[in-house]
Amino acid sequence: MVTTPLLPSDYLDLVSPLRAGADLRGRIEAVHPETGDAATIVIKPGRGWRGHTAGQYVRLGIDVDGVRLWRAYSITSPTNRYRQDGRITITVKAIPDGKVSNHLVRRARPGTLIHLDQPTGDFVLPQAKPAKVLYLTAGSGITPVMGMLRDTEFDDVVMIHSAPQPHDVIFRDELHDLVTDKKLRLTEVHTDTDGMLDIARLDELVPDWTERETWACGPAGLLDAAEKHWADYGVQERLHTERFRPSVVVTGDGGEVTFSATGKTVDADGATPLLDIGEEAGVLMPSGCRMGICFGCVTPLKTGAVRDLRTGEITEAEPGVLIQTCVSAAAGPCDIER
């Protein structure tokens, strides 16, 4: 009442953006380069941070060229670090044309305020310690696994990690230290010289792989091959995978998309998620994992039809129909309520 039309929090945010009860934010405290195109970002989350489980990711919103962009990154700090010094870290690899990743790796400065969601993800270690563990990773797929390695020690851990060249291996020194301390057996596959890892080589590299609880994270090619391989041997329940991007199988026809609450109409192709189309048009789109998992982006479809980019399935408008805008593209003219 005193502050109408604003809320008291609008004023408190001016002085204390990380306070308890505020929208969850964080402050970048430091940026440490890891490789030529990867860096670890130290973040002090706001008071509302609930802590993470090793292997989980956090969604982060940061203003790049004045535009708020949201992405998900794996947390690489052990779970007890937040309890000790109130900090977490994420490790980011700059991908070509990646607006956020390049910004974080090359331009982010300590002191920058960012926006956070609570950590999430089910690519995590189980309560009961498995006797033998295999980590199968490639490229930036090492990041959630590093969060696990730093968090929990196992008696018998094997890791197979692929990267183009030795200097591209993120956390290389730390991994080699673990090897020296006999806490890890590591096989590095340098794909520029060795070629891609052939999943059939597993028998030779890790003869007992079928007995190991396995966490795999990397490009879709590796994960698809792994899922098939584990299934072929009937041990798929031992394999846990994490994908950073949805695998698009089918694209639609596209069409004119109306965002009726905002009053904007734009042309959309059949391959671009409606989430991206809306954001480009300046429509306030809720978003989440951006890969069809978290349902943070669901929006009513008022008229028309959309196509699920993962399955090719068409969803037509009916009262009460909600669509995931991050994995749906226009399949003709449609109207979504944003």
Partner: protein, 372 residues
């Protein structure tokens, strides 16, 4: 309206070329829009909130005359900033590109009795689309005045200098009534429509909150300064109303601004739409501070051409737009605030009396082309 169409010398091709040149100006700003602009609006919002808090704090001691003066002045400026550079422009969607849910046209609410949702409809959709089209753009005299010779005279207009003065004093209520289209919705049948009732209720709720804050809670918090604070918030609202009313009158009412007939916009092209905005708006010249306090509506012409470009860019856009006016030999209506306010008021007085219907001569464009 002058008897001769001031755009008659332009060929249809020239008008489309003009449209393309304006599109290019717009694209340039959009391509360059970024971090600095975002920092600008955040700085302005922060300054406004700080000023408002500080002024209201000072007013807790408004029983002391210096505190009253300082607090009232500060609160007046804070309210003007909220309505003009911040509210008006955010509600236009000028900052939607930042994707910040806290600074977005769909979530913003302003220190004004008209709920932003209703204002957006009457202002963004009606006024900005049908700018200066008689019978379509109710901003032309707000339905209580004649501001062009072509508008029909009625004895009611004899009182329009008084109506305009009252509207200026209570401008925010005038706007709320206007956004509700109160004039046309007062008939019994219309009054009962659920859609109208819902909107009227929303306005009622907004008024209640605003009044409670300015005229009950804040004075009560001031304790022994109750009455002086009440006077201060009333004064600040009055100053804001008079100021915003003056600025907005200067946008479309001064002499030299064109109005358009309803049928003239049938099948209007993009170039013709731009041309109508150029001829239907007037600027206010002045210092940077002046532009800021008008919410950059002193660049009314540029604002009407590009209503969704960030307001901090209108000054640089104005240079290019003015060059186009010269190139196409069109009159760029501008002047200092006192001159423009006088011109607008002069019109309000002059047109309170009936006039002869002017003869509009529109030379054929083809003939012009041959002559050129």
């Amino acid at each position: 309206m002058t008897a001769i169409d001031p755009t008659a010398h332009l060929t249809a091709e020239q008008i489309e070329e003009l449209g393309r040149e304006l599109d290019a100006i717009r694209d340039e700003v959009i391509a360059d829009r970024g971090e600095k602009d975002a920092a600008y609006i955040r700085k302005v919002i922060k300054a406004q909130r700080t000023l408002e808090l500080a002024s209201r704090g000072v007013l807790l001691f408004s029983i002391f005359p210096p505190a009253w003066l300082l607090g009232t002045a500060g609160l007046s400026v804070a309210k003007i900033m909220d309505n003009m550079e911040i509210g008006h422009n955010i509600l236009h969607g000028q900052w939607d590109w930042m994707r910040d849910p806290k600074i977005h046209s769909t979530t913003w609410e302003w220190d004004h009795v008209s709920p932003s949702e209703q204002w957006k409809h009457s202002h963004n959709e009606l006024h900005h689309t049908y700018t200066n089209v008689i019978g379509k753009d109710n901003d032309l005299g707000y339905g209580i005045m004649r501001v062009d010779e072509d508008q029909k005279w009625h004895p009611f207009h004899l009182g329009q200098p008084l109506w305009n003065f009252l509207n200026a004093c209570f401008f925010e209520y005038g706007i709320a009534a206007y956004d509700l289209e109160l004039g046309k919705n007062l008939s019994k049948a219309r009054r009962k429509k659920p859609e109208f009732r819902a909107r009227a209720k929303a306005v009622g709720r907004k008024i209640r909150k605003q009044v409670l804050k300015d005229y009950v809670i804040h004075p009560l918090l001031s304790g022994p300064s109750f009455l002086p604070t009440l006077g201060a918030t009333f004064t600040a609202n009055l100053v804001r109303n008079l100021w915003t009313h003056s600025v907005i009158m200067c946008g479309h009412f001064p002499e030299g601004v064109q109005v358009f007939e309803r049928r003239s916009i049938n099948g209007e092209t993009r170039g013709q739409w731009y041309l109508r905005q150029m001829m239907g708006s007037a600027n206010i010249s002045g210092s940077k501070a002046m532009h800021f306090m008008t919410g950059n509506l002193s660049h009314q012409i540029e604002h009407h051409l590009f209503p969704d470009l960030p307001s901090n860019r209108y000054a640089e856009v104005a240079v290019k737009v003015r060059a186009l006016f010269e190139k196409y030999e069109l009159e760029y209506v501008t002047g200092p605030l006192p001159k423009q306010v006088f011109s607008a008021w002069h019109k309000v007085f002059r047109l309170s009396l009936p006039n002869k219907k002017p003869v509009v001569k529109t030379p054929e464009r083809e003939q012009e082309l041959v002559a050129a």
